[in-house]
Each structure stands twice: as C-alpha cells, then as structure tokens.
C-alpha cells in the first residue's frame, strides 16, 4: 500500500470517512434544511383559472403530511405587470390565528410558474389544518392575478383541501405544493442499520466479504 498509485483512492476513502464523521456529529443541523414536497402540482390540462382583484379573497385549506412546513408554492398567471400588491398570509385553519404575512408586488409573480411563499418552519405541522389566504386589494380587474386550480374530481385533492373564493367553495384545490423541512435524527438513520442487521444471514455474509476484501488489500 506504499505505492503512490493508491494515493488518490486513499484520498477518496479519507474524504468519505471525514464526511461520514461530520454527518454523524452534525446531522441534525445539516439535514434540517431539507425540502420535502408534500404533494405535487396537478396536471395542467385540467386546470381552470380564477382572477383575483379588489375585495376578492381566496382561501385554501390544507393539511400537510409532514412536520416542518416552511413554504407553499402555487401557480399563477397575470395579465399585466402593475404596482399592485398581493397579500399572502398563512393562518391556522381551526383558530384563524395568523402565523405569517407577506405583501408582494404583482410584477414579482412569475408567469405560469410556481410562486413560493416562505415562512418560519412549523415543526409540528403534520396533520394540522392550515389556511393560505390570498388577496389583491389594490389590483384592478385588468391587471389581476390569476390563480390556477384543479376542478376535480379526477385528481386527488390536497389532504384536507378546501378552496374558497370569497364565501363560495370551489370544487377542487389550488395548483399548489407544500414543502417541509425535515429534521433528521441520528436515531432515524439507525433504523436502516437495524433493518440491515435484521436479515442476519445477509448481514454476516456482506460484512464478512467486506472484511475479507479489506484484509486482502492490507496484506497484498
């Protein structure tokens, strides 16, 4: 093993070990930045649009599958860019308590793309009812924001999904995606290890051949 031919692979092995060590020590921090889409957007051909201006308000209720809800994306279109602002707020569905609010100029919305509304992570969001409020009080009828929604019933609805346009309930959900940050505990990674060890025959065989391989490598 003293030959310089092995310096490069040795470097890779060492790098892998260092990464694994960092991963082990810091994993709670590193992996709390993950994004897990809760539900993907609907297929476009089935979508309808609804314009938002004046005192029109859209409320989308939904229940995330995961903890750590931190962002909601929804698909938008608009006719013309103007200085009008869109008001977004996230509320608790059951108590109507406001959790986060944002005002964004209409021209910052992408055309026929997802706009992502970020807010502080809700670490216990799984199974809770949330409401996304969208309104455009300053917008005029001809410079409105269009929201795309799926009229159903052919596709799944968002879990716990209810869509209101003013007081009227629409048959479907916004074309949207909710995203969660995952906090991964070291112990959760060990479940794979336990699953590996539960198949004792294979675990012994696999670890055995790896040890034999390494031994041969050292003694060659």
């Amino acid at each position: 093993m003293q030959n310089k031919n092995f310096l490069i692979p040795l470097f890779f092995v060492l790098a892998l070990l260092i990464i694994t060590a960092i991963f082990y020590i810091k994993c709670d921090y590193i992996f709390s930045q993950l994004v897990v889409p809760d539900i993907v957007e609907w297929k476009k051909p089935s979508q309808k649009t609804s314009s938002l201006y004046g005192n029109r308000v859209v409320r989308q209720y939904f229940v995330p599958n995961f903890n750590g809800l931190f962002r909601i994306g929804f698909r938008t279109e608009y006719n013309e860019a103007s200085g009008a602002k869109i008001e977004l707020s996230l509320r608790e569905g059951d108590t109507d308590r406001e959790l986060s609010r944002e005002g964004i100029p209409l021209k910052k919305f992408p055309k026929n793309k997802m706009y992502r509304f970020s807010f502080p992570p809700q670490w216990d969001s799984a199974g809770k009812n949330y409401c996304l409020n969208i309104s455009a009080p300053q917008a005029e009828a001809e410079t409105n924001l269009k929201l795309l929604f799926d009229p159903g019933p052919f596709f799944h609805k968002m879990k716990g999904g209810k869509l209101y346009f003013g007081d009227k309930e629409l048959p479907g959900d916004l074309s949207m995606v909710s995203e969660c940050r995952v906090r991964v505990k070291r112990s959760e990674f060990f479940s794979a290890w336990h699953s590996f060890l539960s198949d004792k025959g294979f675990a012994v065989f696999y670890i055995g051949i790896m040890i034999i391989g390494l031994t041969v490598l050292i003694f060659l």
């Binding site: 093993m1 030959n3 031919n5 092995f6 692979p9 890779f12 992996f31 993950l34 994004v35 897990v36 995952v182 991964v184 959760e188 990674f189 479940s191 794979a192 699953s195 590996f196 539960s198 198949d199 025959g201 294979f202 696999y206 051949i209 790896m210 391989g213 390494l214 041969v216 490598l217 003694f219 060659l220």
Partner: protein, 433 residues
C-alpha cells in the same frame, strides 16, 4: 504476499474495484432495475417461457416492452437459481407491479411498495450477475491490451486497471442503478477480441448473442462484416452468421408470440425515443444512416484498413457507437457500450483520451441525470424520506442559472468531446500491423 510490485498493484486495484462495487450494491435502487427483473420473475416463479404472449394477454398490450428473449431467459434462470436465497421474491415483484400500476415514479415511490424485510439482500442479489460480467470484461481487457500494443507501448497490466476499478460510469450504471448494459458490452468486447484473433465466425456469433440481450450490437454486425468480408459473398456470409443467434433465439419467439417479440427491437416507444416522430429526429437519424453507410463502405478500402491497423475491431466498434451517440439521443447507461473500447484506446498515454473520457462522462451526466431520483434518490433504500427529499441536479443548478442552458451546453460539450476523441483515434496511425 506478492513480491512483484506490478502484480501487487494489479491485484490491489482489483480488490479496490470489487470493494467499491460491493459498497453500493445493497444500498442503492433505481426503478429500472426493478423493471429488468420483474418480467423474468414470471419465468422463475410461474414458469412462463413466452413472456411476450403472456404480457399481451395479461396486460392487454400490443407489444411487450421488454428486452430481447435472451435477457428474459438469462434473468429468469438467474432468479430461479436464487429463489432459495430469496423466498419473498414474489412479494417484491407484486410490490413493484402495484406501484407501477399506480403510475410508478422514483425509487422512493417504489420503496413504499416493496417489503422492508430483506430489501438489502434483494438489491444485492439483483446486481450480483453484473459482477461476473464485469470481471469477465476485465479479464478480456487484460488479455486483449498486451496483444494490441508493441513492447515499447505496453507498460504492464497494472496500468489502466485503476480506470476499471474506480470507473464512475461503470459503478453507477451497474451497481447503483442496476442496469444490465455490462452484459452486451462484455459480448461485443469478446467479439472484438475474437475478431482480432481472426476467429471471425465466433466473433460474428458473439455480436449476435449480444444483440439478443440488447439490440444495439446489431449496428456492429455490418461494419464487422464489411471489414472481414472484403467481397460481396463473404460480406453476406458474415452478416448471416451475425444474425444467426438472433434468428435462432428470436425466431421461435416470433412465431409463438405472433410477432409480439418485435416490441423488444422496434416499437413506437423506441422509435419515439430515437426521434423518428419529429423533423429534428428524422434529420439526426438521416445523418446517422449516412455516416453509417460511409463507415461501412470505407471499410472496404485498403487504405482505410491499413490506417486502422491491429486495433481495427476496437476502432470500428468505437466509431460505430460514437456515431450513434453523436447523432441520436442518448441515455447515461448507453455510454457503457463504448467504455471498454475507450479503455483500450486510452491505455496508451499517447492517445490522451482518458482525460477527455472524464469530460465526456461529466457532460453526459449533466444533461441526462437531472432528476432527484438519479442523484441522491438512488440511496433511498437507506432512508427514503431523507434521500428523496434532497434536491436533484436540475433544482440545484436552477438556483444559480436556468438548467436548460447548462443542459444544452453540456450536450454540445458531450458531442464535441466525443467527436474530438474520434478525431484523435482517427489520427492515430494504428501501428504494428
């Protein structure tokens, strides 16, 4: 303990290569691997010999979109042999079918359908056959390379084996994704070796055998026949010999399945993939056909044959496959077909090919492996929620600049670099006749 340093280095590389492969085998998954093993499980579990008919009756499809019959028979027999080691095989296959019926998706979706018990064993066993063909390929290269180069150009078998041991393309395709392209790649390399040893009939037969695993070696039958044949009678003879394994193995299936087996060679899906359905695709295909004709006919010329020299089977295979990849759409795993030939051509440092090879792989990965299921997602058997949650290459790149720009640039770099390697190979004098 080995005393000779060169031998020590050679065997150390082999052990490193094996360990690198073994590390990934049980812990990675790509849905293609499940597709490859699902259909043959009908042979192993239910004794279905003719999957093409069965597929049409069972799934009500006109063609069976599975690979040619030898792939079916090979994997079916292999699954039958490993049944005692994996009694839950039918649960795995049922799980795959249920997820596939619900629209499939990435490996995270499939893992929800697969039983958790013995998952790692299942993944390991599904990839195990590739290890034998991989080692077989290494043995072929070790036997082949010293015969191709003169004493001054041959630096020992330890040189170049590192490229095999740590080859990212080989490891990713076979042991991470579980694609079986190593099998036809082994057969075409064997055919090239036999052609070099002037065992022409065997060489053509093995090209045909490769084609009954995956159809692409059919493209090599004509250039090989033109080189070996020299006159029209012998060219036809070699073409017939090349197609003989295809006729022998596919023929009975053709009659038994009323032609449904042809879905493995020609189907709407394949023609769509090759681009025959669009104008751009037709133009590209026309360029390929024209280039292919020029290649075949030029092989009849004595001056061209002189230029190719001893390395002719390697160079002819390389040019044919390079032409295919430059003109037609390519998937990452297809590039494994050409890799043994690049390893042979790159052995001699004069070619300076291996650095370009790395650039080719890198650019190819950039434009063919965008989705999250192709990157961290392959490690989802370890922790599905976490690894599928990690962003794909396209998502990461999109944070800085539009992925489509990177994709198109990488695609141009791929074509340019492969063309550059072709020019380097063409310029090389092919010494030592």
């Amino acid at each position: 303990m080995l005393k000779d340093t060169k031998t020590k280095i050679f065997f150390s590389w082999i052990v490193i290569g094996l360990l690198c492969r073994l590390i990934f085998m049980p812990f990675t998954l790509h849905p293609d691997m499940l597709h490859i093993s699902y259909h043959p499980s009908f042979l192993a579990l239910k004794g279905v010999w003719n999957i093409y008919n069965y597929h049409a009756d069972f799934f009500k499809e006109r063609y069976c979109h599975y690979y040619p019959p030898l792939t079916y028979l090979f994997f079916g027999s292999y699954l039958y042999l490993i049944r005692p080691f994996l009694p839950e095989m039918d649960n795995f296959m049922d799980g795959f079918r249920k997820v596939a019926d619900n629209g499939g998706g990435h490996s995270g979706h499939y893992l929800k359908g697969l039983p958790g018990d013995r998952l790692f064993r299942f993944l390991f066993l599904m990839k195990l056959p590739y290890l034998f063909f991989d080692l077989g390929l290494l043995c072929l290269l070790v036997k082949f390379i010293p015969r191709l180069y003169s004493a001054q150009e041959y630096f020992g078998r330890q040189k170049g084996v590192g490229w095999w041991a740590l080859n990212p393309l080989l490891i990713y395709i076979c042991y991470i994704c579980g694609q079986f392209d190593i099998i036809p790649a082994f057969f075409i390399t064997l055919a090239a070796y036999l052609a070099f040893k002037q065992k022409n009939i065997l060489a053509m037969i093995f090209l045909g055998v490769g084609a009954v695993f995956k159809a692409f070696p059919l493209f090599l039958i004509f250039p090989f026949s033109f080189y070996l044949g020299k006159d029209i009678k012998r060219i036809i003879k070699y073409i017939i010999i090349g197609f003989l394994p295809v006729l022998i193995i596919v023929g009975p299936y053709y009659f038994l399945s009323s032609g449904k087996v042809m879905g493995a060679f020609f189907s709407e899906r394949i023609s769509g993939r090759l681009g025959f359905t669009s104008t751009g695709g037709i133009i590209r295909s026309s360029i390929f056909i024209l280039g292919y004709l020029v290649l075949c006919l030029s092989l009849l010329k004595e001056s061209v044959r002189d230029k190719l020299g001893k390395l002719w089977p390697v160079k002819v295979s390389f040019f044919t496959l390079a032409l295919l990849f430059i003109t037609l759409p390519i998937s990452f795993h297809y590039f494994l077909w050409i890799t043994p030939f690049i390893l042979i051509l790159g052995y001699n440092s004069r070619f300076r090919i291996m650095n370009l090879y790395l650039l080719v792989i890198f650019s190819l990965a950039l434009f063919t492996l965008a989705g999250k299921g192709m990157w961290f997602g392959v490690f989802s058997p370890i922790y599905p929620e976490f690894f599928i949650g990690l962003p794909g290459l396209d998502e990461i790149i999109n944070q800085f600049l539009p992925y489509v720009i990177v994709k198109n640039t990488a695609s141009l770099i791929f074509i340019g670099t492969l063309a550059w390697i072709s020019v380097l190979v063409l310029k090389e004098k092919g010494d030592a006749k």
